[in-house]
């Protein structure tokens, strides 16, 4: 494994801020294909950081036991936003900037912009494929899933099917995506999957194990790896279109609680998903029932809700 620092900025009172890249080079001079894995763009989404660490550990072991398995180049950026990760915050703390809304700017005006630019350019230069790992935000717990913009779906859906996730959600584009790493890589011809899993500031070992096996399967199919014992029993993800997703939102401000600990279950039409309690008098403001039968793939974990806040998503597919 080769460790490289792709960006480094001296800090006023401590060590420099750096983006580190770990590379597992192909065993032959010419790599078949090149892939990059990115974790921690949002510093509180630790599942992505952990996923990268897990992959590094597995690949290091593989390098010792099966060095000939490496047909392509594998790059891993485990902590792509180091200051945010150090603080456990979504935003770059010093500037309160979301680095995943700063991608693709031609004229970098701030340190987060510079970081975003260095990361994007390095990935584009060294990758044919990329996987951007995200945990969910502070509010919603998500099953392992891949979200794909419609405009990239023709190429990405077949790749997503190899990734051992529970769900692949193809959705329409919106302006906000144009500032993200995933979008900017895809428009620069690096086929990029964005994986969303779990919830921020937590690590779900089972989700990470599932995705890690999926990534090994993914690389095996792309002929980046040639494993003697490739992972087996990969699941076929549910493929859902926007019309097949039911979003359930709160109609009240209050505290949302659910009998379910996590999503990833099949719910029946009319099944109770949770309720909203008035914090000042304890009354039940609303009971929330499933408006359709299907796979519950998103469930609110942050209890505080305002009107319009999402509490659950159901995929209306088996």
């Amino acid at each position: 494994m080769q460790t490289q620092t792709i960006a480094s900025f001296k800090s006023p009172a401590g060590p420099p801020l750096q983006i580190v890249k770990q590379t597992f080079a192909a065993c032959k001079p010419k790599a078949t294909r090149r892939i990059s894995f990115i974790g921690g763009l949002h510093g509180d989404e630790l599942e992505g950081v952990y996923l990268c660490a897990q992959l590094i550990r597995i690949l290091q072991g593989l390098k010792e036991t099966e060095p000939e398995a490496f047909l392509g180049d594998i790059h891993i950026y485990p902590a792509s936003n180091p200051q945010s990760i150090s603080n456990g915050s979504r935003m770059w703390p010093f500037y309160s900037v979301d680095i995943n809304r700063a991608m693709g700017k031609e004229d970098a005006d701030s340190l987060p912009d510079e970081f975003a630019d260095c990361l994007l350019k390095d990935i584009v230069k060294h990758s044919d494929y990329a996987v951007d790992f995200h945990g969910s935000n502070l509010q919603l717990h998500e099953v392992p899933q891949i979200r794909i913009l419609e405009e990239f779906s023709r190429k990405l859906v077949p790749l997503a099917a190899l990734s051992n996730v529970d769900l692949v959600w193809v959705h329409p584009s919106a302006g906000v995506f144009e500032t993200t790493l995933g979008y900017n890589l895809n428009v620069r011809k690096v086929q990029t999957l964005v994986i969303e899993t779990g919830i921020c500031l937590r690590i779900h070992q089972d989700y990470c194990d599932q995705i890690c096996r999926g990534m090994l399967n993914f690389m095996q199919h792309l002929k980046i790896l040639k494993l003697s014992n490739p992972p087996e029993n990969m699941q076929t993800p549910r493929l859902v279109k926007p019309s097949e997703v039911t979003l359930i939102t709160s109609n009240h401000a209050g505290l949302f609680t659910s009998k379910f600990d996590r999503p990833g279950i099949h719910v029946q039409l009319g099944e109770k998903l949770g309720e909203i309690t008035h914090p000042l008098n304890g009354s039940i403001l609303d009971e929330i029932f499933a408006p359709s039968e299907g796979f519950l793939f998103t469930l609110r974990k942050h209890p505080l809700v305002y009107p319009g806040a999402p509490v659950a998503r159901i995929a209306n597919v088996d």
Binding site: S11, P12, F94, R101, K105, A253, Y306, G308
Partner: protein, 325 residues
């Protein structure tokens, strides 16, 4: 004056908050509507103060306490958009951490910030002229200046009534497309941004200058009629320049930045802007100077700097100097 609650923002533990629009109706049959928006970020207090001053000014007119002016057209002011952030003393609402000025066009069925964005956009959709009042972020300090996007002759003429010497023409970008200002632009609403000062404080000098400029804009665009408005005060030269022409000065070494110049200063080539002091030795490790002559439009305010940060932005010297308004 009409105070209209255009969106209710319920709270789990108390009374609801509101997004408010303050409207002033012109005489007879108004054909124009000027929209003024401030407080998209909760820490932009100078812009909020400017809106408050304009509300007070317009109220004196409609109450007949100011005989120098008559209101001819409609003016609507949204002094505080991000009311939750303002009340929590922060730039963004801590609950969702969203930058409200990256939430447009919004969604009236979405979350709170998306609803605010949608409500604001729909209430300004019929504007014939729109002004966005902003300040720099807490790390920087802006000299009062105009920002615009591909201004045509008419918009440039409007900008000249504000009495501000510099106008930066913004470039198209993914981030710009998420902003209210851009939504106005693509809706063919003539729109300008006025940026001045820094977050978290009120600069009354800037505010007074901008209030005066906006009043002049209202007079020149026929929104107000003035009984005694001197022709000499009507327009001032503005140096329009492209974003790419802005001279961006960066430091090489990290440390504490100590400014030696002030925003608004006209600097000569080589003139000192400030210096960088090493925290552990106290030594001056770098001198920051202007590479070319220009007007100091943006200056670093937060002293703590990492390597290669933006320290200053200088507007190029224009054909016109800074004329007194």
């Amino acid at each position: 004056m009409l105070i209209e609650k255009i969106l209710s923002l319920p709270s789990p533990v108390g009374d609801e908050n509101h997004l408010c629009k303050i409207s002033f109706s012109g005489e007879a049959t108004p054909e124009k509507t000027l929209s003024i928006v401030s407080g998209l970020h909760g820490d932009q207090l100078t812009s909020l103060y400017i809106s408050s001053c304009l509300i007070r000014f317009l109220e004196t007119i409609v109450l007949g306490k100011n005989s120098d002016f008559q209101l001819k057209e409609n003016v609507q002011i949204f002094p505080v958009v991000n009311v939750n952030a303002l009340e929590s003393g922060s730039r963004h609402w801590p609950y969702d951490g969203l930058d409200l000025d990256l939430a447009f066009p919004g969604n009236d069925c979405g979350e709170t910030s998306e609803k605010i964005a949608r409500a604001l956009l729909s209430h300004t959709a019929d504007s014939t002229l729109a002004l966005m009042l902003k300040t720099a972020s807490a790390h920087y300090h802006d000299a009062p200046h105009i920002q615009c996007f591909r201004p045509d002759r008419s918009l440039k003429k409007t900008a000249r009534t504000l009495g501000l010497a510099k106008a930066k023409e913004l470039e198209d970008s993914s981030r710009l497309k998420l902003q209210l200002f851009y939504q106005w632009v693509i809706s063919d609403i003539p729109a300008l941004i006025i940026s001045a000062g820094t977050a978290g404080e009120i600069n009354t000098d800037y505010a007074n200058q901008i209030v005066k400029g906006i009043i002049n804009l209202m007079v020149q665009s026929g929104i107000l009629s003035a009984n005694s408005h001197s022709e000499a005060e009507t327009t001032a030269p503005v140096n329009f320049f492209k974003s790419k022409q802005e001279q961006k000065i960066r430091n090489q070494l990290p440390g504490l930045f100590i400014a030696h110049a002030n925003v608004g200063d006209n600097l000569q080539e080589g003139q000192k802007i400030g210096e960088v002091q090493d925290i552990f030795s106290g030594a001056i490790v770098e001198e920051i100077v202007a590479k070319q002559a220009g007007t100091l439009l943006t200056l670093r305010r937060h002293p703590l700097i990492y390597e290669n940060e933006l320290i200053a932005g200088l507007a190029p010297e224009g054909k016109t100097g800074i004329w007194p308004f």
